[in-house]
Structures are given as C-alpha cells and as structure tokens.
Symmetry: C2
Subunit: 185 residues, 2 copies
DNA sequence: GTTTTCCTTTGACCTAAATCAAAAAGGGAT
DNA sequence: ATCCCTTTTTGATTTAGGTCAAAGGAAAAC
C-alpha cells in the first residue's frame, strides 16, 4: 500500500492537497536490519511503510531485547513519544526486512498539521487507532494466558508472525522463546 | 482543575472560542459508584473530570473485575475505542467518588472538531498523551516485577493510589490483592 | 559439498505469583 | 458500645512459566 492510497483511505483529500502533502515525504529504500533510532536519541522522523516491516524494541539492563511493537505494510512507524514529544526514545527502531519507506521530519509534519485541518484530523484518527491497538495488547498481556496471547498475536499480525524470528515474537508477548516454542506445538 | 483551564493549558483558544467550546459541555454532579457505561454498550459521551475520580474495568468470565485505567482530576474519561469509533465497549466505566464532571456527546465533539482546527489539534495531542501513558503501563506490566509495577503505579497515580480499594489497584497492575498486600509491607 | 552461525526445540529444575482458606482489622449504622 | 459488612492481611499449597543447559535444524558463508 502506498502513501497516497493510505491517506485517501482515511480522509478525502483533494488531488492538490494530496500532492502537496506527499511531496513533504521522502521515499527511501532501507535494507534489512537497519537501525532507524537508538535508545536515548530523539526521533527526528516518522516513517510510513510501503513495503517491508519493522519493529521497536527495548533493551533491558541484562542485555535482553524486548520487542515492543511490529510495524507492517501501510502503517506509520515511530517511537511515538519520542517523535511527537521530542523526548529521548526508550526504544530502538529497526527494519526487519528490506523496506520501502516514506519518511518525514517532525518540523514538516507540524507544518502539515498547521496547514491542513484535514491533516490534523488524520493525525488524531491514526493516534486513536494506535491507542486502541495498544490497549488491546495490554489486555492480552494483562489477563490472558501465554496460549491466549499467542492467539491474539496471530489475529493482530497475521502476516508478520511467520516472517520474524521466534524470539522477537516471544518477547513481544511477554514470554520466553522456550515457552512460545512449547505453545506452538 | 476546571475545563477552561485545562483547554487553555494545551491550546491558546481565544475567549470567544473557549466560550463556544465549553458551552457544548454539560456540567453534572455524579455520585460515587455511578455506572457511566456498561460493557457491550456504545459510549455516547466523553467525560472531563473537574473533581472526583473514576475507573474503567473489564469483567472476566469468572466474574472478576479487572481495573483497566484510573481517571483523575483534569483528565478526559471514556471507553476510548467505544466513544471514538462508536463500537461496543469492552469496559465498564464508573465513578469512584462523588464527582463533578463535564460531559459531551460524540456528535457535539465531532462538530467541535470540524469547526475548530485548534480543537482537532487538541484531540490529537490528548490522544498522543494517552497513548504514551498506555505504552508506559504496558512496559510496567510486560517487563517489570510485581514490586516495580507498584512503584510505577505510585508514580503515575500518586493521589489516586491511597483513595481506592486495594483490589482495584492490584487488578490494574495485573496481580492479585494478596500479592499487592504482601508487597506493600 | 562442508563449516559456521543462527534459530528452534527439548529436558530438568526452580521460583514468583496465583489460589484457596481463614483470620484480623476497619468503618458505618444503630 | 455493639453488630454487621467490607477490606486487608496472613498462612499453606499449587502452578504457569522462567531459567539453565544442551541438542537439533536450517540457512548462510566459505
């Protein structure tokens, strides 16, 4: 899914508006396993995934990675708090496959938000959608068993689940790789 | 904190705008333990808490309540997905104290979003703030021990934690009341 | 092809927190 | 003060899932 189609699927932008908005994004080919943001940095860019996939992860003191979110085709990818509040990121953000990505800076994004009421609305709608998804994950983690959490995962990220290493999925679901391996049988 | 002060703390509305916006809200006194939305209903209203507090909770099949969120003074309270996406609510929403609350319907809120670009921006900022808070809770639940989660709770809801029954807090933190009781010593 | 590296599975054991159950402590109402 | 009802604490036991360790498999590198 490309950027224009995605934007139009949410808000009825005019061709001119769409042209202006998309011109603020930069299209990039980013290879697999590229780090986009490191923990502690302030995220300068928001990414839209046209092709490929990414994940955000947290690095614990003991050196273990904990996947925080997966980002698939047709989604915005960022360290949300860092990008929108220009604060130091708690997470690393990386590509998991060779990807085609549209990126935009914080300044340009704010400019678009100010220029277009419709864009502001899009921002609100996308935020709410993300919010409900995070709440769903919270539910899964908070009051479901390991087995039920795996089912939630399959429903939320059907296409992603078989494309990434087991360990990434296990930590996303708040369990160990061993436990997930046993569950899958 | 009253509604006008809250709105002004986020966006510089003109006196006229502020007057128009707040006139769409209805001020109500709501007694303790009043149910505002039941599971399965579609949330018709968004609430702003001037005084008092509330919580949202999920009812499990075995009849146990699991607190999903606490809402304190100066915050918007709702079953987010239900209100903004007009879908059936997964949660109950109730007051935990006698409260003074401003409420607004979904239709009026949409009207304000359409009428004022600034209001749309406010909606986006509030959504993002909520999103980052939910992500913080997710972190606490996903990779912290019971003891650390309690500390997170004290930081996030300092004033609330000693005003509600232990069981509500325990379920909010994804642990049993017994465990929380043992931790507190 | 063979080797190296990474990823997944399996096994044995351990531990944090859940469950079950009952006692203790508060807090209103009368 | 006493009684009733709700909330919190304490104790004994169980369990889901974690940890540690090693063996298979699969895919990339040589």
């Amino acid at each position: 899914m490309n950027l224009s189609d995605f934007l139009l699927s949410i808000i009825a932008f005019s061709p001119d508006e769409l042209q202006d908005i998309t011109s603020h994004f930069e299209k990039e080919n980013i290879p697999k396993d590229t780090l986009l943001i490191a923990q502690g940095q302030i995220s300068k860019k928001l990414y839209f995934i046209e092709k490929g996939m990414g994940r955000s992860y947290y690095l614990k003191e003991d050196g273990k990675e904990v996947t925080q979110w997966f980002f698939g085709v047709g989604k915005f990818m960022s360290s949300v708090d860092s990008f929108f509040q220009q604060s130091s990121s708690l997470y690393y953000l990386e590509t998991l496959e060779d990807s085609v990505i549209y990126s935009i800076s914080n300044e340009k994004m704010d400019l678009l938000f100010s220029k277009y009421h419709k864009m502001e609305k899009l921002g609100r709608l996308v935020s709410i959608e993300m919010l409900t998804k995070v709440v769903n994950k919270l539910n899964a983690i908070q009051f479901q068993t390991a087995r039920e959490r795996y089912d939630y995962m399959l429903a939320e990220f059907p296409d992603i689940s078989y494309r990434v290493p087991l360990g990434h999925i296990a930590s996303y679901l708040g369990m160990t790789q061993e436990t997930l391996s046993r569950i899958r049988k």
